[in-house]
Subunit: 314 residues, 3 copies
């Protein structure tokens, strides 16, 4: 397997990266971790443009922090500006503008393929900060890094991916990411209405990984090493009664965990969460989501460092 270089590379889908790429990223993340709350001046003359046409304060701040911890600068399309730009002009010209101003562009967009399209236009590297329903590669990178740090490996574990598997970009991107590894099994836990979308399921099937769709987390909780939770939005249900019927099964409580979970089960969540995990779980041994959130900056620092090819200066 040939290791693709990260240098000047666009980051569009997690599927573009192989296992060796990702382990290289983890290695650089390990090295850069001590600087993730201070600064390392690797990119003093680079500017990142963040173009969030769909709001995500968390992802935007994570990228901005990463760039600044590396000594670089950031210019941002923020808040309602992104929405106005989408109405007023074509994405092509916006990308041409940002390319003229910056050295790397992070784009987030509700439409599938927006980041890929931007990469075709721009002469500077594009990072997909989330587009469509399937792709959020940097989120998956930090999810995998968290698992790697907690378990020392990604292969051989039993995963439960819970929530809105039809629409949740983070869950779909993580499932695609796991196809690059050898999980023991993946449980896809969702109400029947929100089953994993077909395009992701096809990739999963062709990977040969054992997986199973289940309705109830309690049925398989005892088997899990990793439980990845995403939110179930009321709005997805045509009838509010349908939602009321199922919502309890998708709320993780400390009792449920104490009764059924392995001692070293770790729960991940891309955040923000609403009430799908009871607050009392936050400070239990199971909760890994704040640790996971804290890896957002160092993983992105490592990725940007690799793209600019300055990882030897760490």
């Amino acid at each position: 397997m040939i290791l693709m270089s990260f240098k000047d590379r666009d980051v569009i889908s997690i599927l573009d990266f192989n296992k060796d790429d990702l382990y290289k990223l983890f290695e650089v993340t390990d090295k850069i971790l001590p600087y993730s709350k201070s600064k390392i001046n690797l990119l003093p003359d680079k500017i990142m443009a963040t173009a969030f046409f769909e709001p995500s304060t968390r992802t935007r701040l994570s990228f901005e922090t990463a760039m600044r911890r590396l000594g670089g600068e950031v210019i941002s399309i923020v808040g309602s500006e992104g929405i106005s730009l989408m109405k007023g002009e074509n994405l092509h010209d916006t990308v041409k503008m940002l390319e003229a101003y910056s050295n790397i562009i992070v784009i987030r967009h509700k439409n599938e393929g927006a980041a890929k399209y931007a990469a075709e236009i721009a002469s500077v590297p594009i990072i997909n900060g989330g587009d469509g329903r399937q792709h959020h590669p940097t989120q998956s990178m930090l999810d995998l890094y968290t698992i790697y740090k907690l378990k020392g490996k990604i292969d051989g574990l039993v995963y439960g991916i819970l929530g809105d598997l039809k629409y949740a970009r983070t869950a779909n991107s993580l499932i695609l990411a796991l196809t690059k590894f050898k999980p023991k099994k993946i449980y896809l836990i969702s109400p029947p209405l929100l089953r994993l979308r077909d395009d992701t399921k096809m990739v999963l099937k062709s990977s040969g990984i054992s997986f199973e769709e289940v309705n109830e987390v309690n049925d398989i909780l005892s088997e899990l090493d990793i439980l990845y939770v995403t939110r179930i939005q009321k709005e997805r249900f045509p009838d509010i009664m349908e939602y009321e019927k199922v919502k309890g099964s998708y709320r993780i409580t400390l009792n449920m965990l104490r009764e059924n979970a392995k001692d070293d089960l770790k729960i991940l969540h891309p955040l923000p969460k609403v009430d799908e995990i009871a607050h009392e779980v936050d400070y239990s041994k199971y909760a890994a989501y704040f640790l996971q959130a804290s890896y957002g900056v160092p993983v992105r620092m490592a990725l940007i460092t690799l793209i600019f090819g300055v990882e030897d200066k760490i």
Copy 2:
């Protein structure tokens, strides 16, 4: 009286600071003042997060400028982002996110106690950029510093605090601040409907400072050394006629000042003002509010410097 160290301290209420603390702050402000329009690289590897869940361009820009003049960086939740975050997720998780990204957090929130709650969650220092109806400690710090620079002292002066004493956060916070000193007298000037709130009044009473509630500024204008003006908002009055009746008494004109005020009366205002001070007063000897605004950056620079414990490097 033991001097509490500022190092790693949360700044939640002005009541947490004693007179010696505040004089220490003024001393550091004096030293840092020459850098407040240029730069001193005291915090090259620190990032401040500003989380304004209630908009305040002035306070946000003041903190951002202070941090950058100190060589640090800033990430910001701005504009409608704060409002969206409040709806979409709990404050707990937002604070956990910001803590992971930054070295110090400034929070502004409409709810009383939001900053205190954030301080309980976060491992990094929290500065209250204004919450509820009573607390805005950094505004009071710069108000006091302005008085100290203009009068050489804070004790022994006659103060008039005019406007909306029921709801104005800045007025309440300043009154709390003055209880740490020995003013000669405080006049609380407001329409009966907007009298000082009880919680603040209790603190004032127990301080033993002489104070008096009055309706008309003209009755006591000649006694004042300092007049602190805040806006009276029409919306506070159940009947617009009530507002129309009183509004004239709460508008400061140059004539009024020339006829009744001491020659060295100084007028402060937290800004923005609307029409509670006539424009012709702006360039008179009485107006101190633009000077006061100009102290926003150096006082906050000094405070941040003290919190990071690098004041010896100035």
Copy 3:
């Protein structure tokens, strides 16, 4: 002709600059161009405030990038904040605040004269980032620089200025700018409803430059050396049918250019464009608007450098 110094100068209207000033600016731009995608630390202790009371992501990001490429910092009033500020307080006090925080202010405002008014208040230099219907001096500077780079001169060329000449700020500002030079001829191409406004026309007339108002670009396309396109907004027409009738004549296609245009015709556009230029033109030899956009940063870097008087350090 005496060369006015740029040092500490306000930049309100392109009419305040003479030909020698502009050539000096071009000369500094040429020198600073290599740094416009990296960094030159000319202004390490300066902060720029951008106060956009009318949104313009493109112009704001261009100024922010320019300041950061010069090693300076930026604080920004962004998105809906500007609108809120306009409602809640007077421009006078906002300028006083920004003056206290920053070393230079960029203001954008829908009202004619806003930048001039700000310059009267502020002790720091003001740059007009566009106000009213006539003034956008930095846009005209980069337009002229683009022409200068493409043609080696500004004098002696035939210009077509197409679109909404009544309301388009960029078109008006460029026409004013051209009166400082000796164009061979200027064609003003617009529907009768959107003819050049009288105040701009008066300046053009008194300059002695040959100009002509025409309805159809095709009639004179073969004569042009430079075609400057602006958008025609549907909303300007009292009757949508009137708009539908004319819109075709104001859309530039590759066919039209191949049939009628000079081989070395260059098309400029201030961007963002909607559909007034067919997408197929973008990558033809005629299109100069992405190059033009790329000069936004270096021209503004040069201007800021001159205002701070540090051009000898490049």
